[in-house]
Symmetry: C2
């Protein structure tokens, strides 16, 4: 059985191998993704983002648990390298902690966050396609919502959940400012703690049209309601438009990566030495390279 | 006097206008940067990164103060949108707080962090070139060291300072893990607080070859020693190699942006609609677009 067929059959080892090919970047994964692509489009991609310490991983765990109770197949992609996930089939060795036995209905992959600019968004998108092809009904993508890339990844999902928690101080307030506008659903985690009411008021004052759900992820309180709110959003108008918008953005990124390959013969280091010595300016070099 | 000449003469309004052109991305700034480029290469670019709350802005303020005492001209680029800088000529209106009168020997620009992937790194690099051309001896670039872009920006500097502080909890420990390896100098801020000794031991255990300096940025303690350590690094071997490496990376990014322009006639939205409907896979589209 070839690798595409193994992925389509939901084979864990096949999926793990495909995930590694995708993570190595470049075009090695392209024949595989091309073959799988017609079998994708079913999974709902849900981005979960928020400041460090907001409890994103715990929420993702609980959402996955609820989805498993419904017998849904779940993919989890952790772009946040600190995520300690608990139950599920680990695709590769990037996950640090594992509490329970592996559930073959949950695929988990933690992504390396280092590499070229933009590379992590591409790899995350491709990983979600793999999980989609492997039969996942839902793919949860957890990112720590502080960097531009992480925000972009969350934005590329079908629905974006921003997780906040009370009592995280001024710095977190500042981080929040950058991600408030990408939320389709707000979740206030640790909502039994002091400051939750005030946080809820602040969010509603800032983004009155976005639903705000209160949960205590550690014991599961309110998580079912949060899942319902996410589903309400996914069933609402505009989902098709959003999917097209996202693909439009992805196509641009993919094209950018592709065209750069035709310049792989260039000796960037030699050129850089001349630029560093101010023997030539970079704009003149670009003119020379692109005028064939 | 044209804009390039105004920048070269250190004119604040000219520099502010040039900064806005650079921030608007695209190629509008290219003629200006091409003209200025031969006059650059003198400024030392120092990246200051670290977790939110570590006290980066205060340290940058103190470093700028010390450099001003030596009559150096200083540029400050704040990629961290929460940075409240105090003394200096604000280039544009992005800075929220301003305690002192403007010092014409300090140029400050806060960068918008939203935009296309990688755009902020390019804009920051170009902003540093502007400040270099305007006669800055040192350009300090402050980034919050949690996102990939921010780490890349810090890495593109001539020297990278990672700022840590005791007692910031497990999340910060996790963030630290991503930026430990890019440090040329570690600064422990708030080093009079409990946990500073332990933090110093941890850093030295993890990265024994990198100098660790202790400061209390709020009152200036140890900042002169930190500046000396940064200068020691800058005078050390390998600076030329690092500059070439950085330019090599930048040239690749610039080429990627440039070549994408020749595809600006493509209707990405129409293509995206077909992809979203699974009428075509993205890889087949890319083949069509790139085979002329």
């Amino acid at each position: 059985m070839d690798l595409a067929q193994r992925v389509l059959s939901g084979d864990i080892r096949g999926l793990a191998r495909a995930a590694t090919i995708v993570e190595n970047r470049g075009r090695a994964a392209e024949p595989l993704l091309r073959e799988l692509f017609p079998h994708t489009g079913r999974a709902q991609l849900i981005g979960i983002t928020g400041a460090p310490g907001a409890g994103k991983s715990t929420l993702v765990d609980q959402l996955a648990h609820l989805l498993r109770v419904e017998d849904k197949k779940v993919g989890i992609i952790a772009v946040d390298p600190t995520s300690p996930f608990t139950g599920g089939a680990i695709l590769g060795d990037r996950i640090r902690m594992l509490r329970h036995h592996a559930d073959p209905g949950v695929f988990i992959r933690s992504m390396a966050t280092r590499g070229t600019l933009g590379g992590i968004a591409k790899a995350t998108t491709e990983m979600a396609l793999l999980m989609d092809a492997a039969g996942c009904d839902v793919v949860l993508v957890e990112t720590v919502g502080v960097g531009q890339d992480e925000v972009e990844i969350a934005r590329l999902a079908d629905a974006t959940v921003v997780v906040l928690a009370p009592g995280m101080g001024d710095d977190v307030q500042a981080i929040k400012a950058g991600i408030m506008e990408i939320a389709d659903v707000f979740v206030i985690n640790k909502s039994d703690q002091p400051g939750a009411d005030r946080l809820e008021r602040e969010i509603k004052a800032a983004e009155s049209s976005v639903p705000v759900l209160r949960v205590v992820a550690t014991d599961g309180t309110g998580v079912a309601e949060a899942l319902s709110a996410i589903r309400n959003y996914l069933q609402g108008a505009g989902r098709r438009e959003r999917s097209i918008e996202n693909w439009s953005l992805r196509l641009r990124e993919m094209l950018r990566d592709r065209v750069l390959e035709s310049y792989s013969h260039l000796d960037f280091d030699a050129a850089a030495a001349k630029v560093a010595a101010r023997e030539v300016d970079p704009y003149t070099l670009l003119d020379q390279w692109t005028s064939k």
